[in-house]
Amino acid sequence: MRFGEQRPDWPEYLAGRANQTRNRKLADYFSTGSLSADMAIGEAPLVALDLETTGLDATRHDIVSIGVMPFTLERIRVSDGRYWVLSPRRALSDESVAFHHITHTEVAQAPDFAAIIDELLACLKGRLVVVHYRQLERSFIDAAVRERLGEGLLFPVIDTMSLEARIHRQSWWARLRRWAGRPVASIRLHESRLRYNLPAYTGHHALVDALATAELLQAQIARHYRWETPVGELWR
């Protein structure tokens, strides 16, 4: 499956996988819950997901930590959040050590992704995943699961970054600004949050960023969409 401009028919894909998968864990994941495109976002069970990785390329780099935060538009219960530090298969580069403040010795003691798959799937199951910048999260989870279970894991996601891009980069006003040589609005997580008066958090911690993403989605829906907006208009 390719992720170009085409939006896949997610319910069909998920149902197909539920029937075809040979893996018990994945079968359980795919057959739980019914994410339908016309479900209102205000009703949808959601889960914010954030990864810290050793680089940007899922074929060459690994996941260092994962934060997940189940939530709804109504509430984020912080005690439901989960966080894991993982041991990457490939050596941690010095840049990513500096970036995440996670050191070589720390990572050496951490478990492999395989050890947390069950817990992770339990958190994601039946919930619509929310990320900031889907290409990264999607490709890394897919690759990591494929490596351990022999099959990939894809699911629909709401990408708060592309929602922000729709609003700030693709509107006629944004185009006009660009044409006039004005700076383009930043759609990074931190800068996006500031536009909604959300507080500044110290970044680069997967659980903090998962919470930050959940809050950002609540803010985006409040300002630009409605609770009745069907998830099919938002997911990718």
């Binding site: 930590s65 939530f71 538009l73 109504e74 509430r75 984020i76 219960r77 912080v78 005690s79 959040g81 966080y83 530090v85 996670i102 050191t103 010795t105 720390e106 003691q109 951490a110 909604y196 008066n197 959300l198 507080p199 958090y201 110290t202 911690h205 659980l207 903090v208 919470l211 959940a214 809050e215 609540q218 803010a219 409040a222 300002r223």
Partner: protein, 637 residues
């Protein structure tokens, strides 16, 4: 669970009543937090809705309304609401609406009850409700709250931490980039022990040293340090720490006893911040925020008048703490407007609701957000056009008198030029005000120009704000198209000149009383404010504050490159000299004024003062050139 990483606990710990909770209970609350975002204008609590949680404002602001629909209270970051109904197990009495985009933390009722059960002070806080602020302010005056406030309340950022093997140069860069005056040095421990803590990634770490900016200077001065030396070899291994739930008083004693200026603060064994001696000094300052809250708790003029002494103390402390002129101006303006606002509420309580809508506006320095402690009152009433003098004026005359007398009692003297809402001429419906402003701009005459420096700085304080906005819109629309008015204003702005020969020839004010002094308002800040106003009017700016006007002017090509920055610098400097001088007067027990004696100006300041006066002088010359008087025929428009 990793809830500790989420910044929630640290935020709660900075605000009452969470600041005085023991760690275990604070953790209990932090772990149970639920979060939701609300857009500005959203109703948060609707009347008669069931209340199931305590609401805590993480960011943003909300408004609470009385049954009558009138504004009852405004709450901001760190404030809580919903508790009075929650405690009494009843439905919402006071509806609440988001004033800004707001992020709320919910504390579920079960946890709230549990903590109230276990901590009497916490329960007490919610029982006494509004009266607490007053008590806190009173407590603030003696030192007793240093005895009860916990150290963690003073921590507002996480510590900067480095590994023992970090090269000295990297450490120095980190300090520079983060503006930190100290670095905590950590080592990785193989096993957990009584001295290690677990970091956010689950690893055992140990605080082994501290490196301060003073260490750097001292050890660099001793010579021979290579930038590649690991910090572990340079740091001080003597680390005096304080636990986050110890009191500020204990921390201060520990600093004095151990002769250190930096005190790492630990939550159990984990460093959560570094306390600097200046944090403690600063903490002892009564802030303007306290005052503003207190103003709204007073129920008559006598009570309000008693607060005016505190305004002076707060002002002097603010200056001593190194606030800049914008911060001082904004704080004093907020305080002045709060007095006015509260007086209007009290007047309405006495006189009943207004017969027609109105807006109470302030003029001059208060509207510009830059009053000093000597500011007098300049105000006016803009009334709805349904105003009928026969029927309604008695009400507004009484309201104006109440507010004006009240302000005078609170040490905002009556305006010498009678620009006050008590003057019937300045208590008029919108249509009349529009006519005034239009006439002033179409046909400026010496008398109207006299008013211009007051009336063209205007801001709503209370009531129907669109009435004042309509006037601001009118000015912004007409002024740029009235060259004759701009020229007259420009000429007027040249009336007061800076004393260029100040230090050489001692050009002093000739009013007898201050013969050997210079009036920094009349000869410094006022001419600058006047000339900035002319440019602001010319470019259709609706800003009132001088810095904000300069921002607007900077977007045009009215001024040559660099002039804007020089004006800004001159204004900041002159304002600060004036403000510091007034703070000095107050500390000496004198009445503050604007007259500065040359001998009271440090020699290094004289140089800057001369520069500032020269900037004004140049800008004045340009003003006459930029806005020339049009020929008579053009005037008739």
């Amino acid at each position: 669970m990793n809830v500790e990483q989420l910044d929630i606990r640290d935020h709660l710990a900075r605000y009452a009543p969470f600041d005085s909770l023991p760690d275990a209970l604070l953790d209990r609350i932090a772990e149970g937090i639920e979060v939701r975002y609300f857009q500005a204008g959203t109703d948060l609590l609707v009347k008669d809705q069931a209340v199931e949680e305590l609401w805590y404002i993480r960011s943003g602001a909300v408004e609470m309304f009385q049954r009558s629909g009138r504004l009852f209270n405004r709450l901001g970051e760190g404030d809580v609401f919903g508790y009075s109904d929650l405690l009494r197990n009843r439905r919402v009495r006071y509806p609440v609406r988001a004033l800004e985009d707001t992020l709320i933390y919910f504390i579920p009722a079960a946890i709230f009850d549990e903590v109230c059960e276990q901590d009497d002070d916490f329960a007490e806080f919610f029982d006494t409700g509004g009266r607490r602020l007053k008590a806190t302010v009173e407590q603030h005056r003696d030192d007793s709250d240093m005895m009860s406030t916990r150290v963690r309340k003073l921590i507002d950022r996480p510590p900067e931490m480095v590994d023992v093997d970090t090269p000295l140069q990297t450490a120095a860069q980190r300090m520079r980039d983060t503006n930190a005056t100290s670095l905590l040095v950590l080592d990785t421990a193989m096993e957990a022990s009584a001295r290690t803590f677990t970091d956010r990634d689950g690893h055992n770490r140990q605080l082994v040293g501290i490196l301060t900016d003073r260490d750097f200077c001292a050890r660099m001065a001793a010579g021979g340090l290579s930038p590649d030396v690991p910090v572990g070899e340079v740091m001080s291994r003597r680390v005096i720490v304080v636990q986050s739930d110890e009191t500020v008083h204990e921390a201060m004693l520990s600093m004095l006893r151990n002769q250190v200026h930096h005190l790492p603060v630990l939550h159990r064994r984990q460093p959560i911040g570094v306390l600097h001696i200046s944090d403690i000094v600063r903490y002892e300052t009564p802030t303007s925020l306290f005052l503003v809250n207190n103003i709204f708790l007073q129920n008559d003029i006598d009570q309000l008048a008693r607060l005016s002494g505190e305004v002076r103390t707060a002002f002097a402390r603010m200056v001593a703490d190194g606030a800049n002129s914008e911060m001082v101006g904004r704080s004093l303006a907020t305080i002045g407007r709060s007095f006015t606002h509260r007086l209007i509420e009290l007047a309405e309580a006495e006189l009943g609701p207004p017969p027609v809508p109105y807006c109470f506006m302030v003029l001059g320095s208060m509207a510009r957000d830059e009053p000093t402690i000597t500011a007098d009152q300049d105000n006016a009433l803009v009334l709805d056009d349904r105003f009928d003098p026969e029927q309604h004026d008695a009400y507004f005359a009484a309201l104006a008198k109440f507010v004006s007398d009240g302000l005078a009692a609170c040490r905002y003297p009556y305006c010498k030029g009678d620009v006050m809402a008590t003057n019937p001429r300045w208590r008029q419906p919108l249509a009349v005000w529009k006519r005034y402003f239009t006439e002033w701009m179409d046909e400026p005459n010496p008398e109207s120009l006299l008013h211009s420096s007051i009336f063209f700085d205007l801001a709503a304080v209370h009531g129907d704000e669109p009435l004042v906005e309509a006037l601001q819109d009118l000015i912004a629309e007409l002024a740029p198209k009235r060259p004759y008015f701009l020229a007259a204003m420009a000429r007027n702005a040249l009336g007061r000149t800076p004393p260029l020969g100040f230090f050489r020839t001692f050009v002093m004010e000739q009013d007898g009383k201050h013969r050997k002094s210079i009036n920094l308002k009349r000869r410094g800040t006022a001419p600058l404010v006047d000339l900035v106003r002319v440019h602001a009017l010319a470019c259709g700016s609706k800003a009132q504050n001088t810095f904000a006007r300069l921002d607007d002017i900077a977007r045009t090509r009215l001024l040559a490159d660099g002039v804007n920055d020089r004006l800004r610098y001159a204004f900041e400097f002159l304002s600060m000299v004036r403000i510091r001088h007034q703070a000095h007067d107050i500390e000496q027990g004198d009445e503050a004024d604007n007259n500065v004696e040359p001998e009271n100006i440090a020699s290094r300041e004289r140089h800057h003062l001369k520069d500032a006066f020269e900037v004004i002088s140049h800008a004045q010359k340009f003003l006459g050139f930029r806005y020339p008087m049009p020929s008579k025929t053009k005037k008739a428009r």
